[in-house]
């Protein structure tokens, strides 16, 4: 198959299409560098850290925020984990660490949800920070 050379702009546009498209070979003939781009899209793995590392980092960030006295430092540590994952408050699996007001529960849900969905912790911190500055309720 003869492939045509592409300009940098054409290639960039083709990469956008390739990244949005399904994994696998092209349905139509594509340029030589687009074919290489498709190969890299399929060949380069997205690497993930160990879950234990994510937990460690979450704890470090929570501790660092308390020590640094950031914008939301007055709040207690954001509860992350099974306690918030239990929907039924009467469940025997619930680990009750004392009274948690609605604000803290919402903060915890944001942070816990962010981790669970792969959104960055700093992104979650940004959201919390913005909310705390605006005084809004989630």
């Amino acid at each position: 198959m003869t492939r045509t050379p592409e300009t940098a702009i054409e290639l960039d546009s083709a990469i956008d299409t390739i990244l949005r498209g399904p994994i696998g070979p092209a349905d139509v003939e594509e340029g030589e560098l687009s074919a290489t781009a498709r190969l890299l899209r399929d060949a380069l793995p997205r690497l993930h850290p160990r879950f234990s590392f994510e937990e460690h980092l979450a704890a470090r960030l929570a501790a660092a925020r308390r020590i640094a006295g950031g914008p939301v430092a007055a709040a207690p540590p954001i509860p992350i984990g099974p306690r918030l994952a239990v929907a039924d408050p009467t469940s025997p699996d619930r680990i009750d660490a004392g009274p948690v007001n609605a604000e803290h529960r919402r903060l915890g849900l944001v942070a816990g949800g962010a981790i669970a969905s792969g959104v960055s912790l700093a992104g979650a911190a940004l959201v919390v920070w913005r909310r705390s500055r605006s005084g809004g309720i989630f």
């Binding site: 592409e6 300009t7 940098a8 702009i9 290639l11 960039d12 990469i15 956008d16 990244l19 030589e32 560098l33 290489t36 781009a37 190969l39 890299l40 899209r41 060949a43 380069l44 793995p45 997205r46 690497l47 993930h48 850290p49 160990r50 590392f53 994510e54 980092l57 470090r60 960030l61 660092a64 925020r65 640094a68 950031g70 914008p71 981790i115 792969g118 960055s120 912790l121 700093a122 992104g123 911190a125 940004l126 920070w129």
Partner: protein, 155 residues
């Protein structure tokens, strides 16, 4: 977090160093967060670019400070799929290894641009903001990088 870790691992090829870098990035971001000024909304948010720019600096500092022996680049490729993964045929594994090796041997800026484009799926504009280049310069960087990879992969 996984995106920052992924970038760090590609750059250092050492999972332990990549974890150290990821931790450093988020701790720095946490400290610097009050000074961050959002300049966009939704997909135009500058937060992601800001975070990647911190990561790029931390990676550069780590590289200057600690020149450890990198892992064989093929180890990353081999970690892509479990050995018993039926989808990982010998042919696809070989292709993956060759592509990985070709990317890892690119000059540093080209390699970083390719990783940010294909692994982190950032746009040329975002990569330009992270690397301090114009969008056009990043397009050219990636064009040249793919041409190099293609030459390497030719039989």
């Amino acid at each position: 977090m996984a995106q920052i870790y992924s970038l760090a691992l590609y750059e250092t090829r050492d999972p332990h160093v990549a974890e150290d870098i990821t931790e450093g990035v988020f701790l720095k971001a946490l400290v610097a967060l009050p000074r961050f000024r959002e300049q966009g909304e939704g997909e135009d948010s500058t937060f992601k670019v800001w975070l990647y720019a911190i990561a790029r600096n931390v990676i550069a500092n780590e590289r200057r400070r600690d020149r450890r022996h990198p892992q064989d680049p093929l180890e990353l490729a081999l970690a892509l799929r479990a050995p018993d993964d039926p989808a990982a045929t010998a042919e696809t594994r070989l292709e993956t290894e060759r592509a990985m090796a070709a990317v890892m041997e690119l000059p540093p800026e080209r390699k970083q641009a390719v990783i940010l484009r294909f692994v982190n799926e950032l746009s040329a504009r975002e990569i330009g903001e992270i690397m301090g280049k114009s969008e056009g310069a990043v397009r050219v960087l990636i064009h040249r990088a793919l041409a190099s990879v293609r030459r390497r992969l030719e039989p």
